[in-house]
């Protein structure tokens, strides 16, 4: 395995791809934080918006999961 530049490139690429998960973290945190801020201002409206909260988190998270998938593909499939 030593000296295998392609292998090295794979690992480096996979590591770089995981940076994308940070973006998902930022997005999910942003949504959850804003939801909490809104919910504290108007607690009575909060339960009705739980569905929207989860849908938003799901959309934000999906993009992070894509980069996780890229990492996996680089590691195992290429």
């Amino acid at each position: 395995m030593e000296g295998d530049i392609a292998q090295m490139g794979k690992f480096i690429g996979a590591g770089l791809a995981t940076i994308g998960l940070g973006g998902a973290g930022i997005g999910v945190g942003h949504i959850a934080g804003n939801f909490l801020a809104g919910a504290l201002r108007n607690p009575s409206a909060a339960p009705g918006q739980m569905a929207n909260l989860f849908v938003g988190i799901a959309f934000a998270e999906a993009l992070g999961i894509f980069s996780f998938l890229i990492a996996l593909l680089l590691l195992f499939a290429v």
């Binding site: 996996l72 593909l73 590691l75 195992f76 499939a77």
Partner: protein, 180 residues
């Protein structure tokens, strides 16, 4: 198609990393999709034929029962309110009756009392008249007796003093003295 790919699975766990991600082992895809289809069809059939209608019926029955119970409770409440009203009416009526009875009893008592008082007054008046008559009689008796005693005493005195006891003058003198 199957032979090349199944090789990877067959070689087993120790080579899993080298042969790639199990998720991307396309040889297992038909198998998984087939069993997924079977599972979904079974779940769908069980849900639509048995589970969902039953749960829906139970929920509907429960909400029906709750509605009925609420209606019954409302009815009972109405009945209770009616009973309370009837009770209050009866109570008011009884109070009126009692007040009437009390009033009539009071009137009766007052009448009896008045009668008794009147009778007592009459008795007292009669007795007083009688007593007055007696007192007058006794007074008159006493006056006579005094006059008699005075005459006798006067006569005795006159005799003792050596005068003549003239009955007529003595009587006149005593009468004048008694008047005076």
């Amino acid at each position: 198609m199957a032979t090349t790919a199944t090789e990877a699975v067959a070689t087993g766990a120790e080579h899993a990393e080298k042969t790639g991600l199990p998720q991307l082992d396309f040889a297992t895809f038909p198998n998984q999709i087939f069993w997924l289809a079977v599972t979904l069809v079974i779940i769908y059939l069980v849900l639509t034929r048995v589970a969902l209608p039953r749960i829906g019926a139970v929920l509907a029955e429960r909400s029906g029962t709750i509605t009925n119970d609420l209606a019954a409770a409302e009815e009972f409440k109405q009945k209770a309110v009616q009973a309370e009203r009837a009770y209050n009416d009866a109570l008011t009526m009884a109070r009126g009756e009692a007040a009437k009875i009390v009033a009539s009893a009071k009137a009766d008592i007052q009448k009896d009392l008045d009668k008794a008082i009147a009778k007592a007054d009459a008795d007292i008046a009669a007795k007083a008249v009688e007593s007055e008559a007696k007192i007058t009689e006794i007074k008159a008796g006493a006056l006579d007796a005094i006059t008699e005693v005075a005459k006798d005493t006067a006569r005795e005195l006159v005799i003792a003093l050596g005068g003549k006891a003239d009955a007529k003058s003595i009587t006149a003198a005593v009468a004048a003295r008694l008047k005076g």
